[in-house]
Symmetry: C2
Subunit: 335 residues, 2 copies
DNA sequence: ACGTATTTTTGAAGCGCTTCAAAAGTAGAC
DNA sequence: GTCTACTTTTGAAGCGCTTCAAAAATACGT
């Protein structure tokens, strides 16, 4: 920067103004300085800038699992809002590993980003609280705020489970099977609770069977489908509430391969609106989580904290959305 | 840090040594300082540190498409090596958008990261070259190095296409169909070239038909499958070389739904070894790209440049791997 | 031409750390 | 007790920028 100043024949302060405050410098000087910048290929040193102003105009997002498109959607939402605010977004993948999550939280704190977004794993968030206590804004995504002390954006999983189940009931299905797991995942447990509520409202007209799986994968779904196919037809459910699209996909594939009609014999609804659900051989009805909107909402909360807009900490709960496709309503891809 | 020094009754330099050079400070002093650090909850300011040493011990990775698990694999490989070297990895998603790609390249340059990894989009890399010319190490991933001036890690797409096709030929298939597109994607074009080479070697015993698609999605695959199913059986191919697993998945699903047996009537091979390929109703044979290894290789090249190990710029070409599953060999998931 | 108000530019003080030559402290040998 | 060789600590300079009070330049009114 000193080189630029010398070449343009002005002082350091003026060069700084050209970069951060062009309105205040005279037309002619501005041009001179900009020419010098171009000729020298000067790249401002953000590190020095951050040190001088005391913070970076960057936010960090620690993501639990980049392989899950839901989180990538959230990241996209965050970035939209960040873009609009002229703030840059840095990502870090904690890869479902608590140590990495903590390590990246530290990195962001040490890097003095303006704020941190955290899509955490299902575990205690001691490190995040520590950081928050040291005045660094931290907002949770896909996780509630800690009561009154921090903000969070979540989606109402219980309502999602309820909505999915209600959809099947309204289609006249009466023997429902809920597949998903492990139930130690709070999201799965909430979805199940919602499903149960929908069934209870029917006061005995509808039954709900539970099939807990180890994981929420296509492979687990294949097993679920196989299990159903191996039953005598009159013991099969007529509706399958699946805690994830991947699971639903596997189940559908094995079932139709075994001659069970979907949705004729068994209607299937998934969860997550994963990218492949719409493109499936039988497009899968599902519960969509508004990932992009969640990202925007979380970023908004974070910016409020950063700018210290007077603001009570809160948890924003977003509603999941029923997306009806052929796996419950019967039109098929051949249309 | 001054607070820590005061509290521990030592000088600034000593605190700095405790943090960066603990070996050099006396046992007793070390303990004193560390206690002070804990009591004060001191978090070293990386920004100041970076400014003082002239660079951050962080590398940046600009990724063209986070939604593609292949790149997430690469990122994981990069991170493995970065971890081992005590360097932190920051991610930025350019989301198939050249402006964003450039913007994040700039961010990393201005942040004085030690080096940049770039998985670029299929477009001119002027910004990256500019940055490289200013002495910032930049290594390409999934893109060749610029002749002699920069490094890159790629996978031999032509060989992948050849290997896939050869696999079908060795299984006795003779009427092959290559599906994929658009051909303007250099990866697709190379895979096709490889497929053609394999067929040419058979000197007329095998034919290859080309079906160009708009995209490499499941939806496009469904259309491919439908197209094949609608033909009279004797005009159908007996082997399908698909330029992507998603495409293969769609094709397989519609074909088996239409009563075509896979691989009995038509053997299908995909490309990419995407996560869902193994879990498919008919697990999909495919060409695996060694994403994690590519990430490691790229990170290694980058570290060479960063540490200025004498090093000629080169492009590392990795070999794709044939992964044989049921969509070509006929065992099915029911086993 | 002069004084006042306004616009521009200046330059020095920091931001919080690392670095390194020099100073201070310690240990062992005689 | 003194010297030498080594270990440990110190403190000031500097990394490249922002900031802001003060100085300089310019504009305006009379």
């Amino acid at each position: 920067m000193a080189d630029v100043a010398r070449r343009a024949g002005v002082s350091l302060g003026t060069v700084s103004n050209v970069i951060n405050n062009p309105g205040v410098v005279a037309e002619r000087t501005l041009r001179k300085v900009q020419d010098a910048i171009d000729e020298l290929g000067f790249v401002p040193n953000q590190v020095a800038r951050s040190l001088a102003v005391g913070h970076a105009n960057t936010i960090g997002f620690v993501i639990v699992d980049l392989a899950n498109s839901y989180f990538v959607d959230i990241a996209r939402g965050v970035e939209e809002l960040a873009d609009e605010s002229g703030v840059r977004l840095l990502l870090a993948n904690s890869d479902v590993d608590l140590a990495k999550q903590d390590s990246y939280l530290e990195l962001f704190e040490e890097s003095r980003v303006s704020g941190i977004l955290l899509a955490p794993l299902d575990a205690p968030l001691t490190r995040a609280e520590q950081i928050r206590r040291r005045q660094m804004p931290v907002v949770h995504v896909n996780w509630p705020g800690v009561d009154g002390e921090s903000c969070g954006v979540v989606v109402d999983e219980e309502l999602g489970g309820y909505t999915a189940t209600r959809h099947l009931i309204e289609l006249g299905r009466q023997r429902l099977l809920f597949a998903g797991g492990p139930l130690s995942l709070s999201a799965v447990a909430s979805r199940l609770t919602g499903a149960r509520r929908a069934v209870e409202e029917e006061q005995g007209r509808v039954t709900l069977e539970l099939l807990e799986t180890d994981r929420l994968t296509v492979a687990a779904g294949l097993a679920v489908g196989r299990g159903i196919a191996n039953r005598p037809p009159d013991e099969r459910p007529d509706g399958l509430v699946s805690a994830a699209d991947a699971l639903a996909s596997g189940a559908i594939q094995t079932m139709i391969y075994s001659g069970i009609e979907v949705p004729g014999d068994i209607a299937v609804i998934g969860y997550d609106n994963n990218h492949f659900a719409a493109d499936h051989v039988i497009p899968i009805s599902t519960i969509g989580q508004p990932g992009v909107d969640m990202g925007r909402a979380a970023a908004k909360l974070l910016f409020e904290e950063i700018t210290r807009v007077p603001h009570v900490h809160r948890t924003i709960t977003m509603n999941p959305e029923l997306i009806v496709r052929e796996s419950t309503t019967g039109r098929t891809w051949t249309d």
